[in-house]
Point group: D2
Chain length 344, copies 4
Amino acid sequence: MISFESDYDNGVQPEILKRFVETNSEKTSGYGFDAFCTSAKEKIKKACGLEQAEIFFLIGGTQTNATVIDGLCAGYEGVIAAQTAHISVHESGAVEASGHKVLNIPSNGSKLQAEEIDHYMKNFLADETYEHMVQPRMVYITMPTELGDIYTRQELADIYEVCRKHHLYLYIDGARLGYGLMSQKCDFDLPYLASHCDVFYIGGTKVGAMFGEAVVFTNMRAPRYFFTHVKRHGALLAKGRMLGIQFDTLFTNNLYFKISKHAINCAEELKEVFARHGIKMGVDSPTNQQFVILTKSQKEHLMKYIAFEIWEPIDDKHLLCRFVTSWATTKEDIEGLDKALSQL
Amino acid sequence: MISFESDYDNGVQPEILKRFVETNSEKTSGYGFDAFCTSAKEKIKKACGLEQAEIFFLIGGTQTNATVIDGLCAGYEGVIAAQTAHISVHESGAVEASGHKVLNIPSNGSKLQAEEIDHYMKNFLADETYEHMVQPRMVYITMPTELGDIYTRQELADIYEVCRKHHLYLYIDGARLGYGLMSQKCDFDLPYLASHCDVFYIGGTKVGAMFGEAVVFTNMRAPRYFFTHVKRHGALLAKGRMLGIQFDTLFTNNLYFKISKHAINCAEELKEVFARHGIKMGVDSPTNQQFVILTKSQKEHLMKYIAFEIWEPIDDKHLLCRFVTSWATTKEDIEGLDKALSQL
Amino acid sequence: MISFESDYDNGVQPEILKRFVETNSEKTSGYGFDAFCTSAKEKIKKACGLEQAEIFFLIGGTQTNATVIDGLCAGYEGVIAAQTAHISVHESGAVEASGHKVLNIPSNGSKLQAEEIDHYMKNFLADETYEHMVQPRMVYITMPTELGDIYTRQELADIYEVCRKHHLYLYIDGARLGYGLMSQKCDFDLPYLASHCDVFYIGGTKVGAMFGEAVVFTNMRAPRYFFTHVKRHGALLAKGRMLGIQFDTLFTNNLYFKISKHAINCAEELKEVFARHGIKMGVDSPTNQQFVILTKSQKEHLMKYIAFEIWEPIDDKHLLCRFVTSWATTKEDIEGLDKALSQL
Amino acid sequence: MISFESDYDNGVQPEILKRFVETNSEKTSGYGFDAFCTSAKEKIKKACGLEQAEIFFLIGGTQTNATVIDGLCAGYEGVIAAQTAHISVHESGAVEASGHKVLNIPSNGSKLQAEEIDHYMKNFLADETYEHMVQPRMVYITMPTELGDIYTRQELADIYEVCRKHHLYLYIDGARLGYGLMSQKCDFDLPYLASHCDVFYIGGTKVGAMFGEAVVFTNMRAPRYFFTHVKRHGALLAKGRMLGIQFDTLFTNNLYFKISKHAINCAEELKEVFARHGIKMGVDSPTNQQFVILTKSQKEHLMKYIAFEIWEPIDDKHLLCRFVTSWATTKEDIEGLDKALSQL
């Protein structure tokens, strides 16, 4: 069946698979002490325009968020995030599991804005009892957000400035980073992002890899003994080279960006297809996740031919539904959707 | 200086002090294995109209909340609370410190309502991804609330019914329980409360004791090895009898309720005094915490003679200020306030 | 270079790689809700001779230990383990990270014995202050152990009996389970093991997989919401089918056991080679890890041609060195070692 | 009944009780922001010969250990302690509760020695896999130890030197500090101790107070936001002045040392009494805890008249029993014991 269910419903990008096959009989040391990881790190630093960065490869997104936040925050310190953020809702309390509170800022849309953070901090510091409260230490944003939105060059600069003003780390969750940077609406590139935060991760799982996220500590060294800390979080892969091979391949010949661009192109085509059939968008998303409004009967019909996700009910008759493209989306997939929509 | 700063700015209620003096040279076993604790527990059970309850004496409120919540919830389980609740804001992340997420329901005022909880749970269960989320396991309410409000007989019954429907424990933080039950507006008594929740605590620190909170597990036995759990939380007092003596005294001859009633009477007089001087209430509180609206210059003047707390700014010119009565408030305190207000 | 450094220094077993390639373009749901996982679980149940087991696929060993222990033990409960056990030494405190104490029993060799556990529990219960201590709730053993040793049929039965007597879960870490079961000295099989413990895991990472460990809850259902618990531990793989494909392949046509047997055969040949060259064994290991005593100069020489690990210094002149075979060990590897030894 | 059961089986030292009574009707701010706490801190600094120390008052010993260790160690860092240490055995896993491993050094007797620590650290650093292990960050010793033993001037200096060499904090648990310093065998004073460690606490609960321990950070400032950290651990007393009053009194006119000296004198008399009756000491203790060897029938007889604790069985016929003196021990208590021993 044709699927727009998620960007992790497929296998691994074929170039990476090829490299797995080619290198399979080699023997290397474990835990990331291998030439593939070394090479991948160098390529990522170059792509980020950073010389001093420290890079660690972890396995999945929730794990990465929990490990990075716990690595940079003391127990009594919390992380500011939007109410809709992944760490606020969909990580089963992985951040709290190591003792940190997620401090929610109610937000229009899925983005945080600099002034909201500034307002939050001013209120916090004005409170005479602030020493009885969790101390904010980090701001967590996602690029793109849970709803596919992206930050602008100016917004990111403003947020980072506010963070520095209040001694907050800025951490960017880039689970779908490639799809954000390749959006037609994105007005900045990877080096710009890398120079406007303290730590971020380049998502592999949703952008071509079988698994893996590359954590980049930008303008500072990683926390002491971060290797030990990663192991303590159960996030250290024994056959670490598999992460190295994947990111080395993704950052060779711009593969990471090429496949992201492909997904964006497919998403734009998707928009056109929906528009042609009179289906309205529920959210204006410039990235690879498209949210459309379907009636329940439309949904019933489409689900016979196409896999996609029901995001949330809108009212008694309408549903917000998510269609996701990826590096693996094909012309046939889109044609299939077009055809299924024709039969509505 | 006259103080309405808090209900824990004084020493210990004189009857208790007297008992400390009388019993000081006795020797008893530690950790609560003494006759005072045994007697106090019996009296509390009786006052609650419960035969089967299990009772534990802990030292302070934040500690008690963290210990009870961690004792009843697994790591992946969270506790539903109002955004203004003490555990949500003013406990330095003590609940998260043992890994539990506080699940906030935005709420008008400081009370949670049964329908809000029901709505929250229905939305939660309707979410296809709910297994990726923290599982709600407990509802936390305070009686009275952070803003001095109280639940009605009907509200409490409705909340408990919703909790049972959704397999949620109902836990009532009674840091100021006496002041709530003795409010003129309260339409239920201690046995009613005790039969409409799974666990609650009777606050000592703010109601006459030097320190101490009595946790009551009502319709069930306490969690296994709760004693060990309490010790692990650093909440076990070596000279446990000091807790026994305090609660034994408080629950002899209705002392707990008498001194609470005194505070309520003082609070009602306070309201009259403020009204007489044209000072408006910012919150309608039927308990021992009164929140009044003062201009900045009024505040400046009053603070020369009277200690009280600035709760929060209202606008550029006005502040919400808190005046708290307790068992220790005297006629002279109120007259002093009256006099200070006359000079405005 | 020839390597006997570890059993995770290679890629993935070729049959599995082939299946990765064959299935790469399919689309499936994430998080383990796919047909590969379902099939793998059925095959594992069959191989274990269990009908009622519940099976979860996690990514790595440390992660699995932390997740299982935290899933079955309350905070105040601890896990009994040998002082040399992996969780006691080499997991960066991952078990303590979720609040559980590892209770060490000093042990001759690397195995725990039933009478040691019984003795420990009797002493514990005889201590009048035991309620002030961490409550033992689980026994953790490894099969094979850190030093390659294996339990006998009788030892395992005795341990399980003692566990049940004292209401302790028995958890077997099977990171190298295949190599243990295929040892010439092993007098039991997988169904026997599965019927003599409460939970165990079948190691993939060290036995042919790219990554992955299969947790089997045997005579009981898994803890409630174990899926959520796994996610909270950062142990849930988004592209869960990759775990399914690996274990499905490993448990088709006895592949898991065949490749394990191959490693054991290679280890036995290794022993002969060392004996032929007068190199003594430092530990009597019946599994795929062989520990030999080398002089420092022997070590220097060999390391030019062969990768292996220095386990620990024995005295000023001698070192205990580890040589590990796996499914990937070849005839050429062993001949190469033979040749290198000839030149000593 | 006469009791030598513990040094916390009594009330509060009469001078302190008197101060409670005298100050009871005063009103002060909460949480330690009061003049009593300020004064107490100044007196303690003076008694320690420290100008720069930072002092915090907590409630109990287990709580203090957990809070201090968690305040100074990152999650992946552990604390070195003797196997018999209080944190190793009798705190229900309170240290592990915030994620830290207790790293046990097997030790003759109850004291750690500098060379044992040095040996441990050398082995640790020599291990090629040390980055996979919990990083030692602190050494925990008690003065006096669980078995009443004390460190010498030289031993303490040596331990502190080894700690600084290996970048380990030295933390001294002084739950019974007064009894240690006043021992006839102690060859150093409080300022010497305070200048030979990074942090220690002065035990109140077992030395005259109703409750309370004074944490002293010596040659450094306390960790950032230690107040918030203390609250997060549930260790912040609302009526903080009660701690101030107690320590202010204890450090006025050397009361802390006088009452400790009294207990030591009583313990020396106890030794003489036991010797006179042919009862042998099981442990050579120079402090207020005396461990004697009783036959089971001796124990039975004595327990009719005297409360004391059975420490542990020695063999089928003999028990190690503990008799503890304190500031509250009277001449009559000792005469009563003498008389009871006469009847054996």
